[in-house]
Assembly symmetry: none
């Protein structure tokens, strides 16, 4: 009867809705732009709900950022699997990246975490984690330095996409990755640097 006066009966779900709304908003207007009211409106929950589930706006923001990071994580996991299946060649990586770039939301989510980390040391770890994962995938095959170089370049690609209206060419990305990674080393010596051998 009075059934729907009080809202749904699933705290977990509600919490999730709120976090999701906050995450969306962070991506759209930036971390500093988010307010309780905006989140409540977006999530379709009463204002009070946003403060009930999170002691502080900052807590909510952090949770949202974490959700964003999880999203990126999930995508990275997809990358990991694809690399395992199709082999970690520059061509495959370029494919995966190009795919990722096509999903504006993915790019924004990723960059949002990094941007937020700039002024909030507590988020650094989160941001690190993401980049390091990519390095971890490539390191066994290409060694630490080449993997790092690739990761940094890919980072740059993400920013470029975020700031510019145009998306970088898949072919271009593959070319560069090939230069950076070289051919997958058959007899990997995951040493510090896989120095370009002398002519």
């Amino acid at each position: 009867m009075v059934e729907s006066t009080r809202r749904r009966r699933d705290p977990e779900a509600r919490r999730r809705e709120i976090v999701t709304a906050a995450a969306e908003l962070i991506v759209e207007v930036g971390v500093d732009g988010v307010t309780h009211r905006m989140v409540a409106a977006r999530a379709g929950v009463p204002l009070g709900a946003t403060t009930q589930y999170f002691d502080t706006l900052d807590d909510l923001r952090t949770a949202a950022l974490r959700a964003l990071a999880d999203e990126v994580d999930a995508r990275l996991d997809g990358v990991r699997i694809a690399l395992a299946q199709r082999g970690p060649t520059p061509a495959v990586i370029a494919d995966l990246i190009a795919e990722g770039l096509d999903d504006a939301r993915a790019v924004k989510a990723d960059r949002a975490v990094v941007t937020a980390a700039v002024h909030d040391p507590r988020l650094r770890k989160l941001a690190h984690h993401l980049s390091e994962q990519l390095v971890a995938f490539l390191e066994p095959t290409y060694g630490h330095d080449r993997a790092t170089a690739a990761m940094i370049f890919i980072d740059g690609v993400m920013w470029s996409t975020q700031i510019r209206d145009t998306t970088l060419d898949r072919a271009f990305i593959e070319t560069v990755l090939t230069q950076l990674l070289g051919m997958p080393e058959t007899d990997t010596t995951p040493g510090r640097t896989a120095a370009p051998s002398a002519p």
Copy 2:
């Protein structure tokens, strides 16, 4: 001493002070973090001064961002000159970048402009300009694609520095740049892409 209640009488200087304070703050707390009050306090001027010189906080922010961009520009000009004098080799570039990275302030200024551009389309042009300048310096020697690849990598390096506590190794940077740019072509034919031609 002679300092009466009423302050100085040098609009130009005052305006500069305010912009400088705002720029510092943007670097420290982010574009969205700055307030009139903070700027006034930092600049050592009364609150009213910040609104007298800039109709709008947004105007002030823009001016500050522009100042930051100018700073980067100046540094880039230094790079341009150095490249002209010492030659645009990966080693030289790596030197210059490593120098730049040592100046935390420079890195932050640069990144601040880019970050601000994420949510403010009007700043995009500014952010573009900076990256494109680097491309412009390298393009004649290495062709457009390689120059772009280097620029994107360097962008990634800047972010990496900004987010992490450690600075990337100069040697590493040189190595990667060498991979990306190849040897400077002796008889440069500044075509679209300077494919490594056969001897």
Copy 3:
């Protein structure tokens, strides 16, 4: 007594209090004179309450003006009823007006709406409505033109009262209204103008 720090919990009433306070102040200091702070003080509510109930000071002003207009409306309704009961003769009208003039508050409320309408086109309709109502009451008996003339004269009387310290004489008003309206036409032909027909 039980009055804790946090105040009452009756939005409807609070809203009404705020509007009432604003209306009072408009009457006292004019539309442009009212501020959130004044309203809050007068209503005995915290500053924030005035902005919680009205998105904008302008909204608040409009609501207050509307309240004032409603007040006038109510009074006019009293006039309508009295005219119906006692007959719309100049003497009765003069009685009613003289009564109204005695209530300084009523005069001020009425004039406030008109004054506000001068610089705010959106309030014109409101101001019109009030005058037209009076015309509507008298028109069936006296025709449009005479009714309009009476209304305009009464408008003038209101202003005169508002500006001067003295109130106009009831007898004077009746005399003038008699001149303007003539005797109530026995065989009313509510045409455009009820010209005094020949005997």
Copy 4:
């Protein structure tokens, strides 16, 4: 040589310019809307000039209102002369009023003074004066009461014009004035009331 660095050399003229600009603005945006800055801009004088010639914004406003009143006065003087020349018949008065109503500026100036007087007792005298002048012109011919009635009606006409988009019909005005004033008494007995003589 340095001639025009310092502006004109005619304090009187400048003062007049400022007052005129203020008067215009009062008419446009209301007394409370006027600011030093607006006046300076409108008058084309530096900000400092507005405070140099008038100790206080209120002084400036008062001067402007007085100027507005002088304007009305001048117009009234025209009326006086016309009435003397053409005779103070309802037809002539209606002519003059209709002319006045066509000049929106004149109506607004007149109403501005009255409106300002509502909340500023010091301006009451000014507002009175204007109405009383009209009464003074008509009184010798029609007696005090009829003259007053006409004045009040005309006041109502002014407001009606100010608030509405349409201007009242000249014929209507003449008809009403005829009702109010009756025929000019040949053997004027400027008694309290010029009672309508028997048919």
